[in-house]
């Protein structure tokens, strides 16, 4: 794969042997958006990196709408550009590709990223920025925000943070980010997609680590594990405040259960691999951020919790035999007691939620039931906790939600010994 990708670039850009910046765009039928994305990128490069040698690479996985032609037309002679086809090693035939596709909304995304990492290595680029071709909200500033921390401040990985309504990204805010923070000691938002910045060190490490791409790891979309692996590997992680996130074929727009399987499954999966890292007690620290401070928005339509509550109660009624196998007895007793509460008084206590997430992690590790079933059976409990957060905070402003999320993170950290004990001595 490495040679095929390199050969394709060399054929289209014979002079590109070494560049300062590699700007990469994975695409699949993104003709409607890729033109405006490229214009914003070119404006950003012109404004911030006018003297740098640059190569734009579009990894297209078989668009039928002329996306590669639009790339070449838009970039023209302004910057060298190459369109490549990321040839996966039989990955398109993988039965797991469907789940990844549902999550990321794009086939061959992982192979495209691998191609970018190879090219970063071969071109000895000082930084690589990957921008999604379906983003409608890319601005010229994104280039500077994603690349400058790598070039000037020694960042290895620049993760995106977006401005969004207060309950948006509920799974990320209430589970993924707090879990990552408690495990690896870094306060990262764990938001996915849009744009990323990579140092050559990070790119080559990710490419070379086979366990990220093979075996069970091949089930998970790259966006679900990038941040986790970056913090677990001890890379210098930065966050770029990129403003609003408006995109076509929204990532994570798959059904909630599939998103949960991908996001939570990836976190649990890498807990096994990085056990030596997270078992050590660590106090969390903030990661550096760039970009203008962003205000959390209030949702435009009111959130109705009835459907989520119904999902939780049905889970309580029907999935009890499965939860009995997964949850510790005291956790199960706490969850059962929730069924007695009326909808208006319903509260899913934070400590119980953290205990639930940790019990599921241990059960995943112990393989007490089939892992996909285990992850999917977490869904009603997640709906219960989310409806509880909405009920607790809907009278307050966005700050109240942020406060609840922060409380959640602190509780995850405080209860980490519970996880370590159960993980070791179960």
């Amino acid at each position: 794969m490495e040679d095929a990708v390199w050969k394709a670039v060399q054929e289209q850009c014979p002079d590109a042997h070494q560049v300062d910046l590699l700007i990469a765009l994975p695409s699949f039928n993104h003709a409607s958006t890729i033109g405006s994305v490229l214009k914003a990128i070119l404006a950003g490069l012109n404004a911030s990196f006018a003297n740098a040698s640059i190569l734009i690479v579009n990894a297209d996985v078989g668009s039928q709408d002329g996306t590669p032609d639009i790339v070449k037309q838009t970039v023209g002679d302004l910057v060298p550009v190459a369109v490549i086809q990321p040839l996966g090693e039989g990955s398109s035939a993988s039965p797991f590709a469907l789940n990844r596709l549902s999550y990321s909304g794009m086939p061959g995304r992982e192979e495209a990223f691998r191609s970018f990492f190879v090219l970063t290595q071969r071109l000895q680029a000082k930084a690589c920025a990957v921008i999604d071709a379906n983003m409608r909200s890319v601005t010229a500033e994104w280039m500077s925000l994603l690349v400058k921390p790598v070039l000037e401040s020694g960042a290895d990985y620049v993760a995106p943070v977006f401005r969004r309504p207060r309950y948006e990204g509920s799974l990320t805010n209430n589970l993924i980010a707090p879990l990552t923070r408690s495990l690896y000691g870094k306060r990262v938002g764990c938001q996915v997609g849009g744009g990323y910045g990579f140092s050559p060190k990070m790119a080559s490490t990710l490419f070379q680590k086979k366990f990220l791409w093979e075996g069970e790891a091949a089930r998970f979309a790259i966006d679900s594990w990038l941040t986790t692996v970056a913090v677990a590997e001890g890379f210098q992680v930065w966050q770029a405040r990129l403003g609003a996130k408006v995109q076509d074929n929204k990532a994570g727009a798959a059904d909630v259960a599939t998103s949960l399987v991908q996001a939570v499954g990836a976190s649990y999966h890498y807990m096994e691999h990085y056990q030596d890292v997270w078992e050590k007690p660590t106090a969390s620290s903030a990661v550096p951020e760039v970009g203008k401070p962003m205000e959390t928005e209030v949702e435009s339509t009111p959130i109705h919790v009835e459907r989520m509550m119904k999902g939780f109660r049905q889970g309580l009624r029907d999935l009890l035999p499965i939860w009995e196998v997964i949850l510790a007895p005291e956790t199960l007793a706490g969850v059962l007691a929730l069924g007695l509460k009326d909808d208006d008084d319903f509260r899913f206590p934070l400590a119980l939620w953290v205990q639930t997430v940790y019990d599921f992690a241990v059960a995943y590790h112990e393989k007490v039931i089939h892992r996909e079933h285990l992850l999917r059976s977490l869904m009603p409990l997640y709906l219960g906790r989310t409806s509880s957060v909405v009920l607790e905070t809907r009278g307050g402003g966005p700050e109240m939600v942020q406060h609840t999320v922060e409380q959640g993170c602190q509780t995850f950290e405080a209860m980490k010994p519970y996880l370590v004990d159960r993980w070791r001595f179960q």
Binding site: T172, A257, G311, Q314, I369, H370
Partner: protein, 232 residues
Amino acid sequence: MSEMWQEAMIAAYREMMNRAVLFLPKLMAMVTFLLVGLAVGWLVKLLLMHILKVVRFEVFCERMGLTSALAKGGVKQRMSDLIGRFSFWVVFLFFAFMGVDALDLPATANLMSAILGFLPHVIAAILVGLLGILLANFSGEAVLIAAVNAQIQGARFMANMVRWGVIIFTGAMVLTQLGIAKEIVVAAFSIIFGGIVLAMAIAVGLGGRTIAKEALERRLRREKAGDEFTHI
């Protein structure tokens, strides 16, 4: 007269003693086979249970729902114990049949070859049965979780239907494999399954047409509305 009687008695005694002399080694061979069978069966059982313990077979059975399925059927023993016991009896019976064969009785002349000929069917039937139970539990669990997450009210009913469907199908396959009333099993299975599918088709097509329409409309409306926020 008394001489003839005496000769007859002696001849009968000699005949019996001759037969006894001929039969005793066979009897001893049978007893030996039984004793060796006990010892080998016990050894095989121990060895197999040790291997199952090393490969964490009990954990696997729990994960696949086999332990709970057996518990529901009133079997309280661990799966590895059952397999150990089964292996003991298979080995012991194997030796016992060899012992019976060693007796060389006309009634049991072809016993061993008949049993050996049937053994592959029994082993295949056991494997099919085990795999069927595993598949039934796995499918039932998958359907239950998917239906609960889709908030379908009859989730447990659907899961049970799938589980029992696979179990019945497995049962039919096991009986066919064993050659027990092959034609009756196939006919009964076809009638029952065909009947169920036809009944469901008629029920949905006639009786539940309105309900199905409403359910579909509800579902489509809900999907159009979608969630009020994204979760990732």
